[in-house]
Structure formats: structure tokens, C-alpha cells
């Protein structure tokens, strides 16, 4: 009975899993078909197989350029968020006062404000000082994403004994030395969580970059949107483009799956 039950659960699981994977099968197989092949049957395997779609969409997407832009923006923003929010959390957690409490509340309350409520004045202001570019964008990500990161760091800091700070202080270490040599390394498990959550959000963001970036700095989602507008209904090219654009994400997921699941859990549950 027990083993039979397990087999049934296993079969049900696999069926649901296949249902979940079906969209990937659809875009994967059709991206290797000719327009005629897609028209003839969307469900069958590609026959004949063509890789022209990939060559053409690689060019039309300026894939290497947009991949580089996405990488630069994501990596720099995430490093900035990690550094600045761990510093802020350190200052707030090690000084328990009314002021710190109020500042923490200020950070947390900013999470209630949806992006659409600030986007119009925000882009008008940054446009006024010529900061509608990737550097301005990184600074904006710091503003939008520091609150959750500070909140997460703050929780972890409370479990690092203050005696560590005091001992270092006795040895004559400055605040900055204590932070860089002791605190930041001890925060690294939480840093993984903060990094994962921000990488996923920033890499995939569309609306903010679309309002901020000039065309030469377009990221993958922005190129993808443009590409779709230009090649409406040329599904053979569009599907190859989609597949290309999700390959980096899938590779990252396969490589970092353990940390991603942990990061997402910590981020939501803490």
C-alpha cells in the first residue's frame, strides 16, 4: 500500500511537472522551425531543423551588447545595494535609539509605495540633471531596493554579539575597520540572500529601465520589447530571441539553484 501510494504520487507529480515545462517545450522546439514549419504544426518536433532563426535574432537583438549592458547594470547595482544597505543596517542596529527606530520605520514604510506612484516626478527630476542613463539607474535601484535589504541585514546583525565590536575597538580598530574586517564577512550568508533577490529583480526589470535608459544602453528585456515590436508575428525569429534571452537565466538557475531557493525563502519568511 505504502509503495503503491508513493508511485501514484510520483506519477501525478511528473504529470504536473510536464505541464509546467510545456511552455518551454513549445518555444524551444518552434525556435528551430521555418515559418512554414510553425504554420504546419506547432506541437510537433522541428522538421527540417534550422538554426537561421538564432543567427538572425542574435544580430537583430544586438545580443552581446544588451547582455553586456544587463550584466554591468545588474552587477554594479547589486554591489552598491549590498555595500550601502549593510552599512546602514550596521549603524542602525548597533545604535538602539529613538532616532534609529524612526529611521528604520522610514525605510520600511517606503516599501508600501508602489513604483507607479513615483515614476513620473522621478524621471522628470533625473532628466533635469541629465542622469537618465545607467548610472542614474543604478542609483535608483539603490533607493528602491535598499529598504528590504536593510531590513534583512538588520535581523542578522542582532545575532552577531556586540562583544566582537568592543574587542576590536579595544585593539584600536576604527569603525570602518570593524565594519569591513569583521561585520561584513560575518554577514555573508545574508549577503547571498540579498544578492539573489536583487539579481532576479534587477535583471528582469522592464518598466524603470524603459523610462531611464538611452537606446545604446538597452538591457535584454528592453531589446526584447523593441524586437517584438519590429518583428510582430515573425514567430520563428521571436522564439529564437526569447530562447536566447532566457539561456543566461537558466544557466544561472542551474548553477545557483540551492542558494536561490534559500535566498527566496529567507527573503519572504524573515
Amino acid at each position: 500500500m505504502k509503495t503503491r501510494q508513493k508511485t501514484i504520487i510520483g506519477i501525478v507529480g511528473i504529470l504536473i511537472g510536464l505541464l509546467w515545462l510545456f511552455p518551454f517545450y513549445m518555444i524551444g522546439t518552434n525556435s528551430f522551425k521555418t515559418p512554414k514549419g510553425i504554420f504546419a504544426s506547432v506541437l510537433s518536433l522541428p522538421h527540417p531543423v534550422t538554426t537561421d532563426n538564432y543567427v538572425n535574432s542574435f544580430k537583430a537583438l544586438s545580443f552581446l551588447g544588451s547582455l553586456t549592458n544587463s550584466l554591468i547594470i545588474t552587477i554594479c547595482s547589486v554591489l552598491l545595494i549590498i555595500l550601502c544597505s549593510s552599512m546602514a543596517a550596521y549603524a542602525l542596529q548597533r545604535n538602539k535609539s529613538k532616532l534609529s527606530g524612526a529611521l528604520l520605520l522610514l525605510f520600511i514604510s517606503s516599501m508600501l509605495i508602489p513604483f507607479q506612484s513615483v515614476m513620473i516626478p522621478l524621471t522628470a527630476n533625473f532628466g533635469g540633471v541629465h542622469m537618465l542613463n545607467m548610472w542614474g539607474l543604478m542609483f535608483m535601484y539603490l533607493g528602491f531596493d535598499c529598504s528590504l535589504s536593510i531590513f534583512l541585514y538588520q535581523g542578522t546583525l542582532s545575532s552577531i554579539p556586540i562583544a566582537m565590536d568592543e574587542a576590536a575597538e579595544m585593539e584600536g580598530a576604527s569603525r570602518w575597520q570593524i565594519y569591513f574586517k569583521i561585520i561584513l564577512p560575518m554577514l555573508s550568508p545574508m549577503t547571498v540572500t540579498v544578492a539573489i533577490l536583487n539579481i532576479i529583480a534587477i535583471w528582469n526589470d522592464y518598466l524603470l529601465p524603459s523610462l531611464v535608459l538611452p537606446q545604446v544602453q538597452y538591457t535584454i528585456p528592453l531589446q526584447m520589447f523593441n524586437f517584438f515590436g519590429e518583428y510582430t508575428k515573425q514567430w520563428h525569429l521571436a522564439l529564437a530571441g526569447i530562447t536566447l534571452s532566457i539561456i543566461p537565466v537558466i544557466l544561472f538557475y542551474l548553477f545557483a539553484q540551492k542558494w536561490i531557493i534559500k535566498g527566496v525563502t529567507d527573503g519572504a519568511v524573515k
Binding site: 546602514a88 535609539s97 529611521l103 516626478p121 538557475y253
Partner: protein, 286 residues
């Protein structure tokens, strides 16, 4: 680190400056502009509540509001039921359960914009082909009318987010001590009784988190909406976030868009606060 010390403020400066310039100052400016005739660059006069009154009569906004409310109600229910279902499934010990976890979570790694494009293909080509093969007309032209467009958006969102909700439920399910379940089993409790009397009450905090996430997320959806239906046909599948963007950047009606953005903020903030408050209270009662 005392708050009169220099280092205290130096540690806080980058985030405080960013938060002020990116979130709070634009928010206050937006609130102010919503009472003016701002055109995105300058304004000539204060107009009082004119924009807010205009918004009440704005058909697009009303339609977007009710469309979004219906979408949120349906997705909150589906996401929590399916998310919990998947969590219960993969926490059974069988071969391949960790692989399945990875599969269910995968759509979350891909951005909403690209997910929308993927499903645009499936709805417009795959469903059409399936419909003509099976001679079922309701499978055809999914994205060209309001009600099937609505379900299209629901399907994309459920496919994307239920893996995320599953991960949160798993975290709480794993906290239930095994002995409690085993004891109930020995006492002769059926699987259903074990679920309703033990598992369900013990994961109550997970509901707080998941309800919060699915509710506030549902109201803010934009990317999937843009790439799946682009609000069409005739703006019938346009959600609140998209209506604000279009009012500002397509219709160039910046003052009205700001008024909509303020109302949007009030809705999202109120729901978040009420919901957290209510769930906290309920948890204490349990």
C-alpha cells in the same frame, strides 16, 4: 555607535540620500502635482481636486480598477491553493521531488515581460492549433477578447508565481515537528483530519506572508499585461499600473496620471496594512 558620531551618519548617508531622492521626494512632488495642471515639465495653476473628479469619470480608470480587482481575487485564491498543493506534493518523499521543486520555481527566474511573450505564442498559435485539431472554438483567439484575455493573464501569473508561493509554504511545512503528525497517525487520524487539524493551523503564519505577497503583487502587475495583451482589445484588459503609465506617457496627461498614481498608492498601501494587521490578529487567536 552613537547617533551624534560622524561615522553613524556616514554609514547611513548613501541609503538615506538615495531613498529621499528616489522615493520620498518624488512621492511628495507627485502628490503636489496631482492638484495642478502639470504637463510633465511645468504647471501654470493649482486646480484643486479637478484631476481627482475627472478620474472618477474616467472610463479607462474605472474599467482598469474593476479588471484589476477581479484579477487579484482570482489569482490570490488560485495561487494559494495551487502553491500549497504543490508544496504538499513535493514534500512527500518520492524520487524526483527535488527536481520537481526546481521545475515549479523556474518560471520565477524569467521576467514578466518575456513570460508574457512566451504565452502570447502559446495562446495565439498553440491554442489555435489545438482548437482546430479538436474542433473546439473556445480555444481559439484567446487574446482577442476581454474574458479570455483575463484568463490568459491569470494563467501566466499562476504559472509564474505558484512556484514562489510553494517555496514559502514548504519552509513552514518543514517546521512542523514530525512527532506531532506521527502521533496523530497512531491515534488513527485520517490524512484529511491530519491536514485540517494539524498541518493547516500550524502553517497559518505562511498565509499571512503569502496573502500579503499575492495581494500586493497582483495590484502592481505591469510587465505581463504589457507583453501578453498590451491592454487590448480596446483597453479592455488594461490593469491599473498600465493605465497610469499610458495616461502619462501615451496620452501625455501627466497631472491626471499623478492623481491616478496617488489613488493607486492609497489602495496598495491600505490593502497591505489592513491585511497584515488582520492576519497578525488572527494568528494570535489561534
Amino acid at each position: 555607535m552613537k547617533n551624534r558620531s560622524l561615522s553613524f551618519w556616514l554609514f547611513l548617508t548613501p541609503t538615506l540620500v538615495a531613498l529621499a531622492l528616489v522615493v520620498f521626494i518624488p512621492m511628495l512632488e507627485g502628490l503636489f502635482y496631482s492638484f495642478t495642471n502639470w504637463d510633465g515639465l511645468s504647471f501654470t495653476k493649482m486646480v484643486g481636486f479637478k484631476n481627482y473628479i475627472e478620474l472618477l469619470h474616467d472610463k479607462a480608470f474605472g474599467n482598469a480598477f474593476w479588471f484589476t480587482v477581479a484579477f487579484v481575487v482570482v489569482t490570490v485564491i488560485l495561487l494559494n491553493v495551487i502553491g500549497l498543493g504543490l508544496a504538499l506534493l513535493v514534500t512527500q518523499k518520492f524520487k524526483g521531488s527535488s527536481f520537481l521543486r526546481a521545475v515549479f520555481f523556474m518560471p520565477n527566474m524569467i521576467g514578466g515581460l518575456i513570460l508574457g511573450f512566451i504565452w502570447q505564442f502559446i495562446f495565439s498559435q498553440g491554442f489555435d492549433a489545438l482548437g482546430s485539431a479538436l474542433h473546439v472554438t473556445w480555444l481559439q483567439n484567446w487574446l482577442t477578447n476581454e474574458s479570455t484575455g483575463f484568463w490568459g493573464l491569470v494563467i501566466v501569473t499562476v504559472w509564474q508565481m505558484s512556484g514562489y508561493i510553494m517555496i514559502i509554504y514548504i519552509a513552514y511545512l518543514q517546521n512542523i515537528p514530525n512527532e506531532v503528525i506521527e502521533a496523530a497517525e497512531i491515534d488513527g487520524a485520517s490524512a484529511w483530519q491530519r491536514f485540517t487539524r494539524i498541518t493547516f493551523p500550524m502553517i497559518a503564519p505562511a498565509f499571512t506572508v503569502c496573502m500579503f505577497l499575492t495581494l500586493s503583487n497582483g495590484f502592481k502587475i505591469y510587465d505581463q499585461n504589457l507583453s501578453l495583451t498590451n491592454g487590448g482589445p480596446y483597453n479592455s484588459t488594461q490593469m491599473l499600473a498600465m493605465d497610469i503609465v499610458n495616461t502619462a506617457y501615451n496620452a501625455n496627461n501627466f497631472a491626471l496620471a499623478e492623481a491616478k498614481a496617488i489613488i493607486f498608492f492609497l489602495i496598495v498601501a491600505a490593502i497591505s496594512l489592513v491585511q497584515v494587521f488582520y492576519n497578525r490578529k488572527r494568528e494570535v487567536d489561534l
